[in-house]
Amino acid sequence: MKKFPLLDLLVTFMKIGAFTFGGGYAMLALIENECVAKKGWLTHDEFMDITVIAESTPGPVAINTATFVGYKKKGPLGSFFATFGVVLPSFVIIYLISLFLKDFLEITWVASAFKGIRVAVAYLIIAAGLKMWKKLKKTPLNIAVFIAAALAMIAVDFFALRFSTVYMILIAALVALSAYGVGEIRRKEARK
């Protein structure tokens, strides 16, 4: 494997993609085990840096990390092989499931099981949201943005409006940037 670093990247990340359940954060532990402890591709500090960047840039954390590790190891081509590897197992599994799920849902007990799963999904989403709320810095601006976003979501729901959450995120980004700008100007004036 050592002679073919690209193949090594591909296989390692396929393994990571195939054996992590429960989304990106579970994957990080496995990535660390494979890339830091076993292969020595990265130091622990480098891995921590990558994690922070992967979490704060958009997109799946697993993809971000794979792209980054691949680049460190073998440049853009390495990125490609690592990302391709991490996506491939889930693609194959989900693709096969998606061929059959609709027919399965015709069976009564499968449909019943999925009605139960629907409730579980709602719980998992609310648990994730509450966890993020706990980690959130409770500044007045953050709380105001949170309330505004929640109210906007409720309004969209109730009046069946077409207002994408993408716009909400963009507005929040703009508000944060202006708040930062105003803060900077004030700080400069205070220094004068």
């Binding site: 997109g59 499931i97 998606s98 009564t108 609310i126 993020m132 959130l136 979501m153 959450t165 507005i171």
Partner: protein
């Protein structure tokens, strides 16, 4: 062209998802519903499947939605396969490009103060979006008519039983094990309970 549309819609999902998988769910749901690609019920089922199979939830959902939409539009298995490829490529592409740029050119980009301000600033917005989406899903389970009319009538008592059972199970597990039940355990338990409550 449905395949280009799938690709572009999932580029949007990949680009505007912050805060991991759960941040993507409201955006994918909105995309799927506004394009009338599938029902809200089927979408939550797919989420259940995505969370209990390996891999990033966003990629799993994209693959699934792509296959369903591609198959509906062309009526062929290959159309479905190509739809899966387009949607999955779409959701991966923004991250791939952004990380490549950061890794190659902009190592210090993430430490810039305005960048941090924006990244921290969108967090409360995303938390609000996620929490309201979850509440909506609970309400949609409890009041099956909610999707069509906005009247809170026709309470589904079996859904209420499910919500109470899973809630009790999750908090019981947390007290017993001192940590939250994993997504896969919650989903498996809910599937068994679902069969018991909704019948065979």
């Amino acid at each position: 062209m449905i395949f280009l549309r799938l690709f572009l819609e999932f580029v949007k999902v990949g680009l505007f998802t912050f805060g991991g998988a759960y941040g993507s769910i409201p955006i994918i749901r909105e995309t799927v519903l506004s394009n009338a690609w599938m029902s809200d019920d089927l979408f939550t089922y797919i989420l259940g499947v995505s969370e209990s199979t390996p891999g990033p939830i966003m990629v799993n959902t994209a693959t699934y939605v792509g296959n369903t939409v591609g198959m509906q539009a062309t009526g062929t298995v290959w159309g479905g396969f190509f739809g899966s490829v387009c949607a999955t490529l779409g959701v991966v592409t923004p991250s791939f490009i952004i990380i490549l740029l950061i890794a190659a050119l902009l190592r210090r980009f993430m430490e810039k103060k305005p960048v941090r301000a924006v990244l921290d600033g969108v967090k409360p917005c995303i938390v609000g979006i996620i929490l309201i989406t979850a509440i909506h899903l609970f309400a949609a389970c409890l009041f099956p008519g909610l999707a069509n009319s906005f009247r809170l009538s026709g309470l589904d008592t079996r859904a209420l039983i499910m919500i109470l059972l899973i809630g009790a199970g999750r908090s019981g597990w947390k007290m017993w094990k001192k940590r939250a039940a994993s997504p896969i355990l919650t989903i498996l338990a809910a599937a068994v309970l679902g069969v018991a409550v909704y019948g065979v």
